[in-house]
């Protein structure tokens, strides 16, 4: 798969990227690795207190917007960037490591 990157044109690159992304996702889902990764991520985030932090932030947002008029989209818009930022680095590293290992196994098989 990596050989494709030699002597490649930018526009082709984009297509190739998209293709590759799709392939990766497909592999993850097919093998069930994606679900496992998601479970692992959930556990780690609860352990490190990320969930409680974010929940407190949500409550603030709800208080701000008003309990009656809050919508899911409001929440998603407010929370998602904060959520990404609050994830601790070691959790991120662990997850990346697992994905990389998974891909390496996939190319070997």
């Amino acid at each position: 798969m990596m050989n494709l990157f030699n002597n490649i044109l930018p526009q082709d690159r984009k297509i190739k990227d998209a293709q590759m992304r799709a392939t990766i996702n497909q592999k993850l889902v097919e093998t069930g690795e994606r679900e496992r990764l998601k479970e692992l991520l959930r556990t780690r985030l609860i352990e490190c207190g990320w969930r409680d932090q974010l929940k407190a932030h949500c409550k603030e947002v709800v208080k701000e917007k008003g309990l009656e008029h809050i919508t899911v989209d409001d929440l998603v818009q407010e929370i998602t960037p904060k959520g990404r930022a609050l994830v601790p680095d070691d959790v991120k590293k662990e997850l990346l490591q697992r994905i990389r290992t998974f891909l390496a196994d996939q190319s070997n098989i």
């Binding site: 990157f5 409550k59 997850l95």
Partner: protein, 358 residues
């Protein structure tokens, strides 16, 4: 050419890294979305702010996350709580409250044990004091210094009381007591337990002088009696105590009673009963009756051995006497070992040299 390759290779790697990060971000977003759904549902059904109190108490009871302090903000030292006993109205520490209450109210195993033992001791005290006073008067002629005898009896009783008190303390089963006892010499603990029956403490060499021959005989009959080198005390274990040999026991008896009792070729007649023996037999039985009248907590070994202190003619006889009295295991063993030391005279129950106190 190479540069371009490297460049695109690096780009590829960066691209791969970027892809991995994208995958991760997607996962994070999905988890966040799950949380949002949770919160939105909670807000709509009204449970979102259910667990919150007013702002004032919320600030007051917030979880403390400092170093050296627990979550309540308290320093983790042990606080002693004091309580007042409802029975005797005393201020007590909380950890000592339960045992104190047990004793104070007189309920519970330990306190009843102590009470019954106290009763037994008092009964025995009155019994032995009455007995020993008569004894002291009777035997004063036989000994060198009558004054000393009276002193001996009196001080012996006092010592017994003191020792009994100490022994009771040692033998209580409260955890604090046993903690000290655990690390003491094992034989000493056993000695204390066994000698509780006979009521005799571990005598030291100087105290032998104070004791009458009678007491020494009694001691040596009941116990091993070997004087230990380093503590200068008599061993109060039974005759079978594995630490000392029969030779040692014999040595001690020679030392204490001051005469050698070696006999050779003693013919021991088990079953015959001479006329001579009747007198001593009757005496022995009387003695036995007297001692059995004392506290029932005494073991039968005490009763039996006292019967053995009576004077007997050296050769046979005591066999028949003993065959009438209760057969005690230790006496049998001792007589066996004694007979062995005499070149295996026979398997009678006589007490030739060790117990021949003439």
């Amino acid at each position: 050419m190479d540069n371009k390759n490297n460049h695109s290779q690096q780009n590829g790697d960066i691209g791969l890294q970027g892809m991995l990060t994208d995958v991760m971000n997607e996962l994070i977003d999905e988890v966040t979305l799950g949380l949002c759904f949770d919160i939105h549902r909670a807000s709509k059904i009204g449970t979102l702010f259910l667990g919150d109190t007013d702002p004032k108490s919320q600030r007051e009871y917030e979880i403390v996350e400092k170093l050296g302090v627990d979550v309540f903000g308290q320093v983790p030292t042990k606080k002693q709580f004091e309580c007042i006993c409802p029975n005797c109205q005393r201020n007590l520490a909380a950890s000592r409250f339960a045992p104190h209450l047990e004793k104070c109210m007189g309920m519970g195993r330990n306190s009843s044990r102590i009470a019954s033992r106290r009763q037994a001791r008092i009964a025995k005290e009155t019994e032995t004091s009455s007995r020993s006073t008569t004894l002291g008067k009777g035997e004063s002629d036989d000994h060198d210094s009558p004054d000393d005898d009276n002193d001996v009896d009196w001080s012996y009783n006092v010592d017994k009381k003191v020792k009994k008190l100490k022994k009771e303390k040692l033998l209580t089963h409260s955890p604090r007591r046993n903690k000290h006892n655990k690390f003491r010499n094992g034989s000493q603990l056993i000695n204390d337990n066994s000698s509780d029956r006979s009521g005799t403490p571990e005598p030291t060499i100087p105290s032998y002088e104070l004791m009458t021959v009678e007491e020494r005989k009694r001691l040596l009959l009941q116990t091993c009696g070997v004087i230990s080198e380093h503590t200068k005390k008599m061993c109060t274990r039974s005759h079978r105590c594995p630490q000392h040999t029969d030779e040692q026991r014999q040595q001690v008896r020679v030392f204490l009673l001051g005469h050698a009792n070696v006999e050779d070729d003693v013919h021991i007649d088990i079953d015959s009963l001479d006329d001579v023996d009747n007198q001593s037999l009757r005496e022995a039985l009387q003695w036995e009756v007297n001692s059995s009248a004392s506290s029932p907590t005494d073991s039968t070994s005490t009763n039996n051995s006292t019967s053995g202190t009576k004077k007997r003619p050296p050769s046979k006889s005591s066999s028949s006497k003993n065959s009438n009295s209760k057969k005690k295991k230790s006496s049998k063993h001792v007589s066996n070992s004694v007979s062995n030391s005499h070149g295996g005279s026979s398997n009678s129950l006589t007490s030739s040299s060790l117990y021949d106190f003439e």
